[in-house]
């Protein structure tokens, strides 16, 4: 097996590989369960109620939270910390690394988030309402819970990691941004092992639901499993979800030295900015971001086998992304497009990392999972190669490209390769 991309030509200490994956998604709390749900068309969206907004829908994660965290620390910390600790601990355990003997000062943590602090701020304001807004009743836990580095910091505290920890704010592009930061830091030798990806606690803040609702972008459907429907003509918005997906990233030289099981190689990435609108996407900039990732890796559009789309189920966002994808991939006859949000909703900061993870088993089984809930394909979203409602077996899967875009015009692309 030989590849022509730029990364293959780099020395092993400049190549970065994935050696472990830990996750919790609304339809599975490990990669196998998640993948099985994606292949079986199993949604993770359910009915949900949150203060002030009332009955709505959300993607809720179920996992054994006390496996890696005491109830005391869970009470003291945040949901973002808890889902992050789960994913980080699972990723390390599944990487097969001799964790007790790893130099923790050489481990870096890079966690993407869409937002952080809203949950705790809302909780405190709600709490002091009962005391006539007397701030002497405001919790002393508020600051450590709401500092922007909280999700990464809680993982560091829990796992005794003394290297650098960053929480990276990148709206809904954050999952990819966490991965990218990990790759960069490994190449700079700022760390020897990176725990990278994204987390979301967003279903616990009413504000995100209320704001999407005010924007006309909050999904509704009598059947929760049908509510998240990117590319469908009747799509009516976003299903908000929680989740986490963190990767163990290592330099190829280190992974080889410990005979690690290498899941995939991160061969290229790009982040750029629309600089055109607070919320509306810009397909020209999105296409530029995809092309930048391709060109940085010395790849062409023809190299890509699967594109994991960002589409969230909003009227404008989905069709605009399709404009960008047509621009880049026109004439690529063998490419396939899919969408994970149709199953789990929008896991915000975790979305990009989760959506990539669910596609990685395709390197082994050569099956592209579908986009579900497309009953009437929107002609504006009719991409040739869009895998609709049923998984599709492919002749080969060597490269997967993962799109993740966010508000304030942040675009991110990660390309990974079969190893």
């Amino acid at each position: 097996m030989s590849f022509e991309d730029r990364t293959s030509q780099l020395p092993d200490d400049q190549r970065v590989v994935i050696t472990g994956i830990g996750l919790t998604s609304p339809n599975g709390h490990n990669l196998e369960m998640f993948r099985d749900s994606l292949l079986a068309g199993q949604s993770g969206v359910r009915k949900y109620n949150i203060r002030y907004v009332g009955d709505t829908l959300a993607g809720v994660c179920e996992f054994e939270s006390t496996k890696y965290q005491s109830r005391r620390d869970m009470r003291r910390g945040t949901r973002a910390g808890t889902v992050g600790i789960w994913a980080a601990s699972e990723a390390i355990q599944r990487s097969g690394i001799d964790w007790p003997n790893v130099d923790k000062s050489k481990v870096g943590i890079y966690i993407g988030v869409t937002e952080h602090g809203n949950v705790e701020t809302e909780n405190e304001i709600h709490s002091i309402k009962a005391y006539d807004y007397d701030t002497t009743y405001w919790s002393h836990h508020h600051n450590p819970r709401t500092v922007a580095n909280n999700p990464a910091g809680e993982i560091a505290l829990n796992m005794g990691i003394t290297g650098p920890h960053y929480t990276i704010g990148a709206a809904c592009a954050a999952g990819n941004a966490g991965i990218i930061q990990g790759v960069q830091m490994l190449r700079l030798h700022e760390c020897d092992l990176a725990i990278s990806g994204g987390v979301s606690e967003s279903i616990h803040t009413f504000g995100i639901f209320a704001s999407f609702k005010s924007q006309g972008a909050l999904a509704s459907h009598e059947d929760p499993s049908k509510a998240s429907r990117p590319f469908d003509q009747t799509r009516n918005g976003i299903v908000v979800s929680e989740g986490a997906c963190l990767y163990v990233l290592e330099r190829l030289s280190d992974a080889k030295a410990r005979s690690a099981n290498i899941i995939a190689e991160v061969v290229s990435y790009a982040i750029n900015t629309d600089a055109t609108d607070f919320v509306l996407p810009n397909p020209e900039r999105q296409a530029q971001c995809v092309n930048l990732a391709l060109s940085r890796g010395c790849l062409t559009a023809d190299h890509i086998d699967i594109v994991s789309t960002h589409a969230t189920g909003t009227s404008s966002g989905d069709s605009q992304e399709c404009i960008a994808l047509r621009n880049v991939f026109q004439g690529c006859e063998n490419i396939r497009f899919n969408n994970t949000k149709s199953f789990i909703g929008h896991a915000m900061g975790a979305a990009g990392a989760l959506e990539l993870a669910g596609n990685l088993p395709s390197f082994q089984d050569r099956v592209c999972h579908a986009t579900i809930n497309v009953d009437n394909l929107d002609p504006e979203c009719a991409l040739p190669g869009l895998v609709i409602n049923q998984p599709q077996e492919l002749p080969k899967v060597d490269y997967i490209l993962n799109n993740s875009f966010g508000m304030l015009g942040i675009n991110s692309v990660v390309i990974v390769r079969r190893f």
């Binding site: 005491s70 109830r71 005391r72 009470r75 003291r76 005391y131 002497t136 009743y137 002393h140």
Partner: protein
Amino acid sequence: MTPAEIRDEILDILSEITPDEDLSGLDDDKSFREQLELDSMDFLDIVMELRKRHRVQIAEDEYGNLASMASTVTYLEPKMRDIVSA
């Protein structure tokens, strides 16, 4: 509240703060810190819960009275004796 009721209330607060601990064998004369590994944030939780539940105000220079169950009950008894137990 009687001293016994105050003790029960403190136990209830401790069970929230330290949900992983078995409080059944708590020695009233030994310090909380020694038995439960409480830190300063946990003691602030006790102060906050007493404030929220019973509007009991504890000045910062009196936090030391919350060292053990015995000292806590002794300290709180005059402040809580007129509170009717729920």
